[in-house]
């Protein structure tokens, strides 16, 4: 915790400075509220509108968590499958990259046409943005296993399963966590985008309503909420990483 403060005070003070600048600039230039509200207004709206905003926030958190979990599962499964079956890897891997080139904004409405307004198309959107970083990170980790460790394991008689569980998987964990960090932040974005398609609640819904009624202050509340949420997700992955990969943190502490 002390560490967070020690490392965090610099960016925090820069942020504070930016907010002050913003506040002053808006006041001096007399920018109308609907165009750009000052930070104080945004904070006020966040406090006064909290009860209304809470259910939206809750719904987005649930959706992102669920999507992230499914995306992680599918991402890992894909990576393991592609790793263990080189033939499939060669034929499918390029297609995976292509799948990331389809713009989600275009795909999302199509998914609604195919699957309706339920939770399914939303989960598909989140999964699509989440699984790829995990698959790539895990595959890289598996592949980078040092030859000498592999040679020892094979000479000592490790089966293919033992080779995977006792060497390749633990070796790929640090790399896998890099992927998880990216995916965790993407999952919040994915959830908000999928809510634009049409949902009963969610930050995405709140945002569209706010912007179409020129409640710019609320749009900013939504933006900050998304940022905070992403940061929180990122932080939890970081925490899980430091708990799971103790040997790595001890190693870097020594250096």
């Amino acid at each position: 915790m002390i560490n967070v403060f020690r490392k965090g005070w610099r960016p925090a003070s820069v942020l504070l400075l930016l907010f002050i600048l913003w506040e002053v600039a808006v006041a001096i230039a007399e920018v109308p509220n609907w165009l750009l509200p000052p930070p104080t207004d945004i904070v006020q709206e966040a406090i006064s509108g909290w009860t209304g905003f809470r259910q939206h926030l809750q719904s987005t958190v649930m959706l992102s968590l669920l999507g992230f979990a499914i995306g992680t599962g599918i991402g890992l499964l894909t990576a393991v499958l592609l790793h263990l079956l080189p033939f499939i890897r060669e034929s499918v891997y390029p297609l995976l990259i292509l799948s990331q080139n389809v713009p989600i904004i275009v795909l999302a409405p199509l998914l609604v046409v195919w699957f309706g307004f339920g939770i399914l198309p939303k989960l598909i959107v989140i999964t699509l943005v989440c699984f790829f970083p995990i698959t790539v990170a895990a595959l890289d980790g598996f592949r980078q296993t040092p030859e000498e460790l592999k040679h020892y394991m094979l000479m000592a008689g490790a089966s293919k399963g033992q080779l995977f569980w006792k060497l390749e998987l633990p070796y790929s964990l640090p790399s896998l966590f890099s992927g998880l960090k990216i995916s965790a932040t993407y999952s919040v974005m994915g959830a908000v985008i999928s809510e634009w398609l049409g949902a009963k609640a969610g930050i995405g819904v709140y945002m569209t309503l706010a912007s179409s009624s020129f409640r710019t202050d609320r749009v900013f509340v939504a933006i900050f909420a998304i940022m905070l949420l992403s940061l929180l997700f990122f932080g939890s992955i970081l925490l899980a990483e430091s708990l799971l990969i103790k040997w790595k943190s001890r190693e870097s502490a020594r250096k």
């Binding site: 094979l154 000479m155 060497l167 070796y171 990969i245």
Partner: protein, 244 residues
């Protein structure tokens, strides 16, 4: 009693013949060194005995059973320690047993204690020095349930002083447990100091050009390095290596 026997082993990669009709055996409880110039196919021999490669011709027998192309029949200590960085030292030395079945934590603890690694049981490999890592790697091989240990130039990456300490340590531990050991090295002194028998290999394609029984009794003291006999041993092996 012969424990490991290698008969008529021949292996080539493409047009490059590495082994040609290689024959040797290792008795139970014996310490045998394979000494050869670098690039003489020592690693190929190990990969064949370890079952990583299939020979073009010939067979490998361990305790009367054919193990040609069968992985996991031997215990192995590679040139680099090859410890898993995420496992504690205790977990690392148990890995060989774990791959084969049951683990015996108590014995592992005792052995670590004896090797002076008792305080490092829960440390990670990167917290240990090079010599300590090699000790852990050897204990891992010693704890593995297979009847013979293959050592692949285990001390070649260490500095002179550490290497000397390690050789002494290895002799001590060998005296106590008397495991069967097949040791590959390119260091003549190391081979004489440690082994019962030395097999001198020729250049490619490798075959045994001389078999040398080391005349020193055990347990061996460091003083034998300066012994007259030691030097004449060294001279004759050196000769054999040169005059092939």
């Amino acid at each position: 009693m012969i424990q490991l026997s290698v008969e008529h082993l021949t292996k080539s990669f493409d047009s490059n013949q590495v082994l040609n009709n290689l024959n040797f055996y290792v008795n139970e409880g014996e310490f045998v060194s394979i000494l050869g110039p670098s690039g003489s196919g020592k690693s190929t021999i190990f990969n064949l005995v370890g079952g990583m490669l299939l020979p073009d011709d010939g067979s490998i027998t361990l305790d009367g059973e054919k193990i040609t192309g069968k992985r996991g029949s031997i215990s192995y200590m590679p040139q680099t320690p090859s410890l898993m960085p995420w496992r504690s030292i205790l977990q690392n030395v148990l890995l060989g047993q774990e791959l084969m079945g049951r683990t015996d934590t108590e014995t592992a603890r005792k052995m670590l204690q004896k090797a002076g690694l008792g305080d490092y049981e829960n440390a990670y490999p990167h917290e240990l020095s090079g010599g300590m890592k090699q000790r852990a790697a050897f204990i891992r091989a010693l704890l593995s349930p297979q009847p013979i240990i293959l050592l692949d130039e285990p001390f070649s990456a260490l500095d002179e002083l550490t290497r000397h300490d390690m050789q002494k340590w290895l002799l001590d531990i060998w005296n106590e447990h008397k495991p069967t050991i097949l040791f590959v090295t390119h260091n003549i002194e190391e081979a004489i100091y440690l082994s019962d028998r030395i097999l001198v290999l020729s250049c490619k394609p490798a075959k045994v050009i001389q078999e040398y029984k080391v005349p020193f009794a055990r347990p061996r003291m460091e003083e034998i390095f300066l012994h007259e006999n030691f030097l004449s041993c060294k001279r004759s092996i050196h000769h054999a290596l040169k005059n092939q």
